[in-house]
């Protein structure tokens, strides 16, 4: 398999007045074609900034990111993206929102409409094509956002905590929906999350980021094949991996609870 994403010694420094804040500190990793890589870490560890640099939405202070053999300097059309907010345009219908990238990138409308229909069916939104965002629940809106990210059939999917604003039950449903989509379309994916279980459940590999320094401290291969379903969450191995990751993050973060226990 070919390497699809290569992040090489990437740093991001924000200048605020005279102070320099290092948001991302010397991160390197690769993702193979078709691999689902979760980037796990506490809030403020720079994981979203890292993803935004991959998307070409943030400048890279030093180092470089190679996608499909090309260094990233600006946003690229062959990348699908999802944010924490579904970011649907309120005046557009479900169908029009999904076709927004097609319109912007001036791709042939008719064949993409066919694909949009297939995706809508896949995520269980058939019959909602002509509804407007305010008529949908939060989970449904995020399903529309998944369809929009996939409609141009990108090689790479970048997801920035796409389900973190949803309630726990909806989140579980969305995780299952994403697994189904992965089995069917198999993209290269970067998935930012602060949920340990979500990362282990979805990903082939989990990268753990910490706050100080804001870098990757662990690169863990998840030993479960695909297709997966929720039953793996009950396996001892699954829970051992989660416990290991939690321990790793807490040790690094010196959480108040840990300090209290130590005292």
């Amino acid at each position: 398999m070919a390497t699809n994403i290569a992040v090489e010694n990437v740093r991001k420094v924000y200048q605020t007045g005279k102070d320099e804040v290092e948001a991302v500190s010397n991160v390197s990793f690769t993702a193979e074609e078709g691999e689902f890589v979760a980037i796990l870490g506490p809030s403020g560890c720079g994981k979203s900034t890292l993803l935004m640099m991959c998307a070409g939405l943030e400048t890279i202070t030093s180092g470089r990111i190679i996608m499909d053999g090309q260094p990233v300097t600006e946003p690229r059309a062959h990348v699908g993206i999802m944010f924490q907010d579904s970011t649907l345009l309120p005046w557009k219908t479900v169908m029009e929102n999904i076709l927004f990238p097609v319109k912007v990138q001036k791709r042939p409308m008719a064949e993409h409409k066919e694909r949009a229909r297939e995706l809508i069916h896949m995520v269980g939104l058939s019959g909602f094509e002509e509804k407007k965002p305010h008529q949908l629940s939060g989970g449904m809106r995020q399903r529309v956002a998944i369809c929009r990210a996939l409609v141009t059939d990108p090689d790479i999917l970048l997801m920035d905590e796409p389900f973190s604003a949803l309630d726990a039950m909806t989140r579980d449903e969305m995780n299952d929906a994403l697994l189904d989509i992965w089995d069917r379309y198999r993209k290269t994916g970067l998935f930012v999350t602060h949920s340990i279980r979500e990362a282990v459940y979805l990903a082939d590999r989990v990268l753990v980021m910490t706050r100080r320094p804001a870098t990757v401290v662990e690169d863990l291969r998840i030993p479960f094949g695909r297709p997966r379903d929720r039953s793996i969450g009950e396996k001892a191995e699954f829970n051992e991996i989660c416990a290991y990751l939690r321990n790793l993050i807490e040790k690094r973060e010196d959480s108040p609870r840990r300090q209290a226990r130590a005292a």
């Binding site: 946003p75 993206i81 990138q105």
Partner: protein, 257 residues
């Protein structure tokens, strides 16, 4: 009434209450002017105003056409100019920063005071009235549209950038739709300002129009005619306002479906 459903009853009340209040005020006005024999030059009774329409209906209609058509032209031109100004001023951060404080300052100037200047510059005919009316009506449109263009959802802008949208695509497919509600709130103000602008212009520099007719009636102590002209002026003013409201409804329907 008690058999009607709740919302239906409320609907009737929202219509009936203001109508009742209006009728009551007119009734008191009528009774007071008659009971105290108030001079019709000082305050004519509502019945005097109504009966004056018999004599001056034709004159009012002619003058209403003059004022109304000019106000409508000023209204449309100020809408277009306001939008163009907003698009130009928001096209670059530098331009915006340079102009925005001045636009806000201009908004504060009591612009009525500048009306005579327009006569000075453009003479006694409709160009000076039209320009003055446009001058006072286009600011609210420009200011509101500018605000709207800058209030587009930051997430939507980020998404568009990620999708490699061009600046024009972002402007017309994201910023402009987000600015529409703001534009219409400015347009509603422009609807009233455009009529005010024309009437003020007519006060100063015209031999026609309802503004001129009001001054003419005042000099002849025909107070009832002034009120009659006011009534017609209100009706004339409803036309641009109705257009603004209609446009706003269409836009909201497009937004919310």
């Amino acid at each position: 009434m008690s058999t009607l459903p709740q919302d239906r009853r409320e609907h009737i009340l929202t219509l009936a209450l203001p109508v009742l209040l209006g009728v009551a005020v007119l009734g008191v006005w009528q009774v007071v002017t008659q009971a105290f024999s108030i001079s019709p030059v000082l305050l004519p009774a509502p019945s005097d105003i109504v009966s004056s329409f018999d004599d001056i209906a034709g004159t009012l209609a002619r003058n209403a056409w003059v004022t109304g058509s000019e106000a409508l032209v000023a209204f449309f031109l100020s809408a277009i100019l306001g939008v163009v100004a907003a698009l130009v001023l928001t096209s670059s951060a530098v331009v915006f920063q340079a102009f925005y404080p001045h636009v806000v300052m201009f908004q504060i100037i009591p612009k009525i005071a500048l009306a005579p200047l327009f006569v000075f510059w453009l003479g006694f005919d409709s160009p000076s009235r039209l320009s003055y009316s446009i001058f006072i009506s286009f600011f609210p449109v420009a200011l509101a549209t500018m605000t709207g263009l800058n209030r587009a959802d930051a997430n939507a802008l980020r998404l568009s950038r990620a999708l490699t949208a061009s600046r024009w695509q972002i402007l017309f497919q994201v910023q402009v739709p987000y600015a529409l509600p703001y534009f219409f709130s400015g347009l509603k103000i422009a609807a009233t300002m455009s009529v005010i602008g024309i009437v003020v212009g007519e006060f100063i520099s015209s031999k026609r129009g309802l503004g001129h007719y009001i001054l003419y009636s005042q000099s002849h102590s025909e107070t009832a005619h002034i009120f009659a002209a006011m009534v017609v002026l209100c009706i004339v003013g409803l036309i641009p306002y109705g257009i603004a409201i209609g446009g706003e409804r269409l836009a909201r329907k497009w937004w919310r479906g």
